[in-house]
């Protein structure tokens, strides 16, 4: 391998790895926010039903 190949391998893995981690992290965060919102809505719906029954 030439020096150029080592430079490409070094920078490629580090920058590529950073990009993959950042993209995966943003997607995980987006999915978690969607799940959290759904759970909150479900909980509010259950609370509303409970309130109607008591009324």
């Amino acid at each position: 391998m030439t020096n150029l190949a080592f430079i490409i391998a070094g920078y490629g893995v580090i920058l590529g790895g950073l990009a993959i981690y950042a993209i995966t992290l943003v997607r995980r965060l987006r999915n978690a926010r969607a799940d959290s919102l759904r759970i909150r809505r479900d909980a509010e719906a259950v609370a509303d039903v409970g309130g109607d029954r008591r009324a």
Binding site: M1, N3, L4, F6, I7, A9, G10, Y11, V13, I14, L15, G17, L18, Y21, A22, L25, V26, R28, L29, A32, R33, D35, S36, I39, A43
Partner: protein
């Protein structure tokens, strides 16, 4: 929105630093173009130190304040730190082969202690999966994070304390990159890459912290849902002696107090 701005600034800064380090800075007299790997290698190593330092500090604050937000910070820093440690090792290997003639040497104290650092914090992340109790998990993780942090100064000073292939410190040694006679383009390239990757590190830390907080809320909601369902099922079946209210309540109390291991 502000976090996104940090991410965009980090991305632009890294692009600029890479272009400068690869195409503007002249090759090193002794090592030629292979020396260009130093910019990402040294920056990754410093960010690994910073991450694990934050993990230890946040763990200490958790043990003091018992606030799970510190545990979220510790987790975020450990995960990001493991990634940067792996990058530092990879970059070092790619630099070592053309310069030393070998990718790795176990007899070198810097290399071996860095590999140990990676193993310790991978273990830290795995340890967190051993229990569902947030307080117990945070306590265990904080202790392991503090113990593992002992390896950080050992890694840093290994090149001073023992002999090996690895060069001595790049920044701490005044005869190297910070020496007035050091060519300015080399200094700019290294400091520029370090600054750019630090901005990216800050962006990743914020995002990982946000994720950790939401994951904890979802986990907590699921646990409370299971306890409620179990209590309802017990009441519905009228099996009063078998109602698991007491163990559930104990579990909740344990989490809130959070002192146990």
């Amino acid at each position: 929105m502000k976090t996104r701005v940090v991410g965009i600034i980090g991305l632009l800064a890294v692009i600029a630093a890479v272009v400068f380090g690869l195409f503007v800075v002249p090759p090193d007299v002794n090592q030629g173009d292979a020396q260009r790997i130093m910019y990402v290698h040294v920056a990754s190593a410093w960010l690994a130190y910073l991450s694990f330092g934050v993990t230890a500090l946040a763990g200490m604050l958790y043990l003091w304040k018992r606030d799970l937000r510190f545990d979220a910070v510790a987790l975020s820093a450990a995960e990001v730190g493991v990634m940067f440690t792996a990058f530092a090792i990879w970059g070092g290997m790619m630099w070592a082969k053309p310069v030393w003639g070998t990718f790795w040497q176990w007899e070198d104290p810097r290399l071996t202690t860095t590999a140990l650092l990676l193993a310790l914090y991978v273990g830290y992340l795995l340890l967190r999966h051993l229990t569902d109790d947030p307080a117990r998990r945070a306590t265990r993780a904080a202790i392991v994070g503090l113990v593992a942090a002992i390896d950080i100064p050992i890694v840093h000073f290994s090149v001073v304390w023992w002999r090996g292939l690895h060069q001595t410190a790049t920044f701490a040694d005044p005869t190297k990159i910070l020496h007035p006679s050091a060519p300015l383009p080399f200094v700019i390239a290294l400091v520029g890459m370090l600054s750019a990757l630090t901005v990216v590190w800050a962006y990743l830390m914020i995002r990982r912290y946000q994720l950790a907080r939401i994951e904890w809320q979802i986990e907590e909601h699921g646990r409370l849902g299971r306890i409620t369902a179990a209590q309802r099922a017990a009441v519905a079946s009228s099996a009063i002696p078998a109602i698991p209210a007491a163990p559930a309540a104990t579990a909740i109390d344990g989490r809130v107090e959070g002192a146990g291991l």
